[in-house]
Symmetry: C2
Subunit: 294 residues, 2 copies
């Protein structure tokens, strides 16, 4: 079965960069990535621009995009206000995330897990009522930089509320990049048994376990993965969290295993170069850096 | 089951470095690594010092070492002469490798696969007759930088000759770092069904698939893996081949999964720092670079 990769660089990636891109640059990046064959892409988030200036005027980005048919353009929202902004500019896919860590929830969303979950649940219900497709996810599902291990029961409880509210897809996010493949296998198995909606994984690569985690989940049937071109990203509220797994390495892994993604790896390498120019540093990710291209 | 990690930095690592270490420095590195709890270590190779000056006077290294009981000190040999040198300095573990790629065999061993196999077979028989433990392996078992995919039948044929000759352990080496986990799973499954001696894996990390390959093999029951502190290494005869998987990341992976290795990860991080000073550049490997140590 073909893999559905979601490109996170224009959202999770850019929000961690010191340089704030113009709306036009963000549009150019998104269109270039879609042109590589990326089937799903995160275009931005509807958050307070004072908290995350990199994501200011995501409306302008959404309105300015030449949208390609069949491609999912998704933005992150945290509350009713964000959902209203997304709907107002005609976006029909949103994502809403709740952290399973109390400390991270306070830093990331300004409220405890229970309150963040109430907001997210209401976002899911309102979005569904308005005909918007919702991916709902659990951040720090595999552990927290501040709190260490997170009980699986809490991750399941959060996900159950979001699924019950009508989420079209669940996502497990390893926000701090501390998942290992054995743990990934266990949590994914439990999720596949418990929930009937599709599951996606959003993995970071702090310790280099990212692709091993992808493989463990894929072996169980997961086909939806986030990646970020050049491994851009991190979390503005978690020190030393590395970026997402690099989309080019994710694509390369599946192509090497004979599994199609629909993404043109050589074109993606060009976009990665463009991104390196923008952020003015070497990005992580292996494919395109190594001369060996088997 | 506990994992048996073999440290390759003093052999596969150093042979790729421009700077030639003194015998005393090599001894210091080996002893520091053994002091981290490394149960098996590659101390050097008995090759022509004109071809690989970094490995000159491996006799001096072996003789100078304060050996710790229970630790396997192993050197690489290619022919009868190398075996004689290893035996003469009292080494009781050797490794002999044959490349499954004709092009790589010519560059690495100066002869074709058939001739390299004849030499290796005779090394295995002579070593066994002399009471020396032999690990015998297949280089480029997962593909070749020059020839692309390598037929599994050829890898099996080479291994069968070495097993028949009496090898105590077989090793599959991904010399160019082009294995993917699906392929690793298939080849390892075949090996475990075909051969009764233990199997070890020597993986490089060119594309960042190394730990995913480790996980795939471990799931099938493989417990013997090579690593190189700091990801040092490559292959002097393969352009752009990255180093081995970093021992610290390999150890971290297993510890994170709750599987013991007997290695002290914090001490290993200190040795990695020492290695960075020696080679005067940043090494790869994640653990110890990232602040996050879950």
């Amino acid at each position: 079965m073909s893999i559905l990769i979601e490109e996170a660089a224009p959202r999770d990636g850019l929000q961690n960069e010191a340089r704030v891109l113009s709306v036009q640059e963000r549009i150019q990046l998104i269109e270039a990535l879609v042109d590589c064959g990326v089937p799903r892409i995160q275009v931005g988030s509807f958050v307070n621009p004072r908290a995350v200036p990199q994501m200011a005027d995501t409306e302008g980005v959404v309105r300015g995009l030449r949208k390609r048919k069949g491609v999912v353009y998704r933005a992150l929202v945290f509350n009713a206000k964000g959902l209203k902004r997304a709907a107002a500019c005609g976006l029909d896919h949103v994502a809403v995330f709740v952290s399973a860590s109390e400390t991270h929830s306070l830093r990331n969303s300004g409220c405890d897990v229970a309150e963040a979950l109430r907001r997210a649940e209401s976002v899911v219900r309102e979005a569904k009522a308005g005909g918007i497709v919702v991916q709902a996810g659990v951040m720090n599902a595999f552990g927290c930089r501040f709190e260490g291990p997170i009980p699986e029961s809490r991750v399941l409880r959060v996900a159950a509320v979001l699924a019950e509210a009508g989420a079209d897809e669940l996502c497990l996010a390893d926000t701090a990049g501390c998942a290992n493949p054995r743990q990934t296998e266990r949590l994914v198995e439990t999720f596949l048994k418990t929930f009937s909606v599709p599951l996606s994984l959003h993995l970071h690569d702090t310790f280099g376990f990212g692709l091993a985690n992808v493989y463990a989940a894929w072996k169980l049937g997961v086909t939806r993965f986030d990646g970020s071109c050049g491994g851009l990203g991190g979390c503005p509220f978690i020190p030393e969290a590395a970026g997402n797994i690099a989309t080019e390495d994710l694509v390369h892994l599946f192509h090497a295993m004979g599994v199609p993604t629909g993404i043109d790896l050589e074109k993606l390498t060009v976009v990665r170069g463009f991104l390196e120019t923008i952020v003015q540093r070497n990005l992580s990710g292996r494919y395109g850096r190594t001369g060996c291209r088997l």
